[in-house]
Symmetry: C2
Subunit: 532 residues, 2 copies
């Protein structure tokens, strides 16, 4: 083969990849980085055969095994891989797309609820073995004068709709005892493979199931004492997964949480105070362990729902401004959430949203929009068109932007204005926007030079707590993406966060230190092993 | 909402869509075209509810009904829609990506085979009700001295591997008689929904099934008398579907077809002579019906397989040049075919392919490459990298280019050099490159301003004969794409064909005339209906 052709080919490939955010990093990589990069590529190639290849051991629940296959069936296998061990050790930077009511493991949430005698549970129908899977538990903390002394959800006397104390409902659960109760609750709080991949295998259908998992969970997480436990648990588990900073999308469409007394009486400012307390407590905890540098804190993106009327939205926007004035260090953005396809598009809210921008100027605060937009399979549908309005409204980042790859001018604007996209690969796959990782449009965005921050979206429902699973699925499904690419993505999550300049510089410096340690660890752990 | 915002929004949308091939046509549409466009959009919107909506009647074999759903289960329902009636009437322009051994309905092929007493059939195992679906028929025309007098594939005396005359095998078929025989053969020649969507639901697996359908079919279509019937049938059915010109990918890796005498003795030049004859006969047939303008003829893209060695490829390339010299009007391109992921990449063949270009200069012929490239879910894999080599080798068009959307520079080159992409939406979906039409990357290519020609690829196996089904699936899955978009796509198939300038001008003029008639028909047929 002539050298001239090979040179021309290299030139073309370099041109094609010149917009990528890892282009410079790859060119400037140190020898150690190159070595670690090569090791990771070899680990991946090896496991693509031994774990995900056609002759690999079968995976229960899936007829088809391949790298980047459906996460819900692949999860247990992923946990056993060397590649996951590597990814788990990575410093992830920031978690920028995370719905606060979907961030704590279902079993941990239930365990937290069991601590509180106010917590009760009921069902709308009498439970039988036959309807168990289809019947959802409903949770609620009751005021003490309404606490009941019913013992069981499942005895003959149980009247559907009657509240039973959570602990005794669990102790007396008839279909296998407390463990079966836990399984039943966890099933109602999570999406399982047969829902996502069989019975509800369309975006519209799986969103319905997805909605019920939130409804069930909120019965517990809206109880203020649980919320406080929840925040600490969320921060702790994130830090353990290598996340050093978080921007939570907080569901503020409820005006009150339920207080320790069982009444709906905890207003938004109390939520913020508790958020601040939790950050402080967890920071102190980690500082005491000599790990103070691992957590730089967290901010809140104020969220309400895409079902609000314009008048209702006005209330939320004023509320958001008031919270920003009281908690300027905490409130960092505003967003509208919910399934984009059927719910109201951004264009519907243009007037209040424009007023919001004006009001901020009057009041002297700055709350950037950080909109969900284009989380859709539609082409030219209102949900897809949300991307135009997000851009015109000056969004700081784009949440999901699944359909962004269809829009050359918007991608160009994202590059020009450095609007990063919060890409949630596992969420997209479980909610059926993509059949599997190899079909996911992330490589298109990357090659167009759009900055992305990988995010877990709703890991309590999906099982992708931390960010390691999302990084893993991305790494395993592309031969272009390697360790250095993941470094750039994780750095970008800090660069495009709402941290102020000083904190951002510190965060990036700490990330760099942790990255160097990772490189050393990879080389010492795997190089010998792979030579064999 | 303020007018300024609306104006800005329109400007942004127009910018975003300015590269699209339909941008000018939409701006210049006549009133009649606009009316027809609006009618088609209303028919689509109506049927998206009544036929494909959540409350629409169920579709057997699919739990999930939506516009652009899996073709194999949707096909019967598509046939009943008004939108399909519209699309069926469309002049389609050229069919540019069509594997010649996959272009005739399976039942028609079998009927053709039944005319020839030389045709025999056998199975490798004794057929039982239990193994019927899994056991494939093997067909072969035998020389007269080897014709057998065995009567049945299924009587007790049948010895697996023994040839039985086709007609008597069919007459005596034991699992329901001749109809059951036909069903059995058709099943072996086509891909069924449960293979594509359940048991073989990955690219690798479905390609294996796909391969066996070709192997079974070739037992019949390699018989020269059947081949001659086949060509006429292919041309006739294409014309009936609104196709006016065809570039067939001819499978020339076999050096001989089997002649009327049952011997492998029909060389490539005879295939070409027969191809010429079939064009002539069908042209005359249609001219006699006063439909001479509907068919402008057909050319051949010489194809061999991506399994050849470089030495073998040299032979084919010389053969291709010799055929071009003898049939300059017929041979219009060269391609390598087969599943790109596991087979040899273009880079492997650089030396012979470069020599081929040199040899053409010496001999004074021009045979453009028209390469399959990027028919893969891989990112940076050899199949994905084929796109670079296709471009560097100067490909005239790209076959499939499924992964092209990942390559900004290559898309730019396609725009600059007017390299059109032969997009095969239904093939991509059945072969599991995309979960369904709404996930297909076609809108990305369109918005990047890459010219596309919709193609059916292997309709005998997929059931998408003609081009109406492919146009339908594209139209139903996008709110941006409308009738005028489809007009541009169909015109592009002529513009980027290998027709010479004069024929191309004539083809485009005839297309324009037919399009005007379509617009009239749509308005007269549907406008009143939709007003009601």
């Amino acid at each position: 083969m002539d050298d001239e052709y090979i040179r021309e080919r290299k030139r073309l490939i370099a041109e094609d990849r010149s917009l990528r955010v890892d282009a410079l990093a790859l060119a400037q990589a140190t020898d150690a980085e190159k070595r670690a990069e090569e090791i990771v590529r070899r680990v991946r190639a090896e496991e693509n055969d031994t774990v995900w290849g056609p002759d690999a051991p079968p995976i229960p629940g899936s007829m088809h095994v391949f790298p980047g296959m459906g996460f819900l069936t692949a999860r247990d296998t992923i946990l056993k891989t060397k590649l996951f061990e590597v990814v788990s050790k990575m410093p992830k930077g920031a978690l920028l797309h995370a719905h606060l009511d979907a961030m704590v493991d279902a079993r941990v949430l239930l365990r937290s609820a069991l601590k509180y005698p106010a917590m009760h549970v009921r069902t709308a129908e009498k439970l039988t073995l036959a309807n168990l899977r289809a019947t959802l538990p409903e949770f609620r903390p009751l005021p003490e004068n309404e606490w009941t002394s019913f013992e069981s959800l499942v005895d003959d006397a149980y009247e559907p709709g009657t509240w039973v104390p959570l602990t005794s409902a669990r102790e007396t659960f008839g279909f296998g005892g407390p463990d079966a109760f836990d399984d039943w609750v966890v099933a109602a709080l999570t999406i399982n493979p047969s829902e996502s991949y069989v019975t509800h295998n369309t975006v519209d259908k799986i969103w319905k199931t997805f909605g019920t998992t939130f409804a069930v969970g909120r019965g517990m997480s809206r109880y203020f004492p649980i919320y406080e436990d929840y925040l600490r648990e969320f921060f702790r588990s994130s830090i353990e997964g290598g996340i050093s900073y978080i921007e939570s999308r907080m569901p503020l469409w409820y005006r009150y949480m339920i207080g320790p007394d069982g009444q709906e009486n905890i207003p938004h400012r109390e939520w913020m105070l508790a958020y601040d307390r939790a950050i402080k407590e967890v920071k102190e905890e980690f500082a005491q362990q000599g790990r103070g540098d691992e957590f730089l804190g967290s901010k809140v993106i104020y969220c309400t729902l895409r079902i609000a009327t314009c008048e209702e939205l006005d209330w939320y926007l004023e509320d958001c401004i008031a919270l920003k004035q009281e908690f300027p260090h905490l409130i960092c953005g505003f967003d509208l959430v919910g399934h984009e396809d059927p719910l109201k598009p951004l264009i519907y809210y243009i007037d209040p949203l424009k007023r919001f921008v004006q009001r901020q100027k009057e009041v002297g605060v700055h709350i950037p929009f950080i909109f969900h937009a284009g989380e859709t399979l539609g082409d030219g549908t209102p949900a897809d068109m949300n991307l135009y309005d997000a851009i015109l409204l000056g969004t700081k980042r784009i949440g999901h932007g699944f359909s962004l790859v269809k829009h050359p001018r918007i991608m160009e604007i994202c590059r020009e204005r450095e609007i990063a996209v919060e890409v949630c690969p596992i969420s997209n796959e479980i909610l059926r926007y993509t059949g599997s990782m190899p079909m996911h449009p992330l490589p298109i965005l990357m090659n167009q030079g759009v900055h992305v921050a990988l995010s877990s979206d709703d890991p309590a429902m999906f099982g992708n707590l931390g960010l390691s699973f999302d990084f893993f699925q991305v790494l395993v499904a592309s031969e272009v993406t390697g360790l250095i690419t993941l470094r750039e993505i994780s750095r970008d999550s800090l660069t495009y966060s709402c941290l102020d300049l000083e904190d951002k510089a510190r965060a990036l410096a700490l990330h760099g230190q942790r990255w160097s340690k990772l490189i050393e660890w990879i080389i010492s752990k795997f190089s010998g092993h792979l030579k064999a």
